[in-house]
Symmetry: C2
Subunit: 144 residues, 2 copies
């Protein structure tokens, strides 16, 4: 199979296949005389695995670790279990971050609901974000 064939077979893009090839996650059987890369069944299997793992938001580096271990003939499952625990923790963080940000945005929108649009006041870009409180003095920086 050529690059595009492999990509289509597993519903991904040729660029993705090329990328994984470049970083040696998958290896073509050989390059044909015209330089085209030819992939076999094993590459297809690996790509399938990689895509599944990406679905779980595994990083490419993590996937590489898994494949290296499997290539040594060992079970990759313990690594996979460890990574997925880590991924879950990461996702939890992202989740909480998105949650906090959402609240922040919502309350900003709320706060601005009734405020007018002012023209820049010289020292101010947008009073919605900067607020009207002149507390620059608190910062207490010596100008220039």
């Amino acid at each position: 199979m050529k690059v595009t064939e492999l990509a289509r077979a597993l519903n991904t893009t040729p660029d993705t296949v090329r990328y994984y090839t470049k970083i040696r996650l998958i290896m073509p059987l050989k390059s044909a005389e015209n330089g085209y890369k030819i992939y076999g069944k094993q590459a297809q299997q690996r790509l399938k695995f990689i895509l599944s793992a990406r679905q779980l938001d595994f990083s490419v580096a993590e996937i590489k670790d898994i494949l290296v271990e499997a290539d040594k003939g060992h079970t990759a499952c313990p690594i996979v279990r460890k990574i997925i625990e880590y991924r879950l923790a990461e996702t939890e963080k992202q989740f909480q971050a998105a949650l906090r940000l959402r609240e922040k945005l919502k309350s900003a929108i709320n706060d601005w609901q009734d405020k007018p649009d002012k023209t820049p006041a010289g020292h101010m870009i947008c009073h919605l974000i900067e607020g009207d409180n002149r507390d620059d003095a608190q910062i207490g920086i010596n100008n220039e």
Copy 2:
């Protein structure tokens, strides 16, 4: 103020100040004879705005749009309002994505709880991810 002074004044890093300077979000008053960049009060004000907007996850490009508009003497507020609506939608997406991913990960962990760690079966990297179902035939790719 020099780069590091400005950075410290607004509780950020010199690298960040340099970055914003390079992409011309803030402009130093002049470069001193030794090549050091000198920032004035206006730069400080702008930086403060930028950092606030970054807190709301505005992209640097979006912030640039805002500043450009303000520099023309117009109100930036309508743009800000538009961007924040967009940001809220984006955050909502991220939020939902994180939510889905979390469920996916959790159920994966659950499903694997009682499964053993197998050694790679030749055609398989990790049966936890790939599953035990031999449905390769469904894909129906002509091998090699």
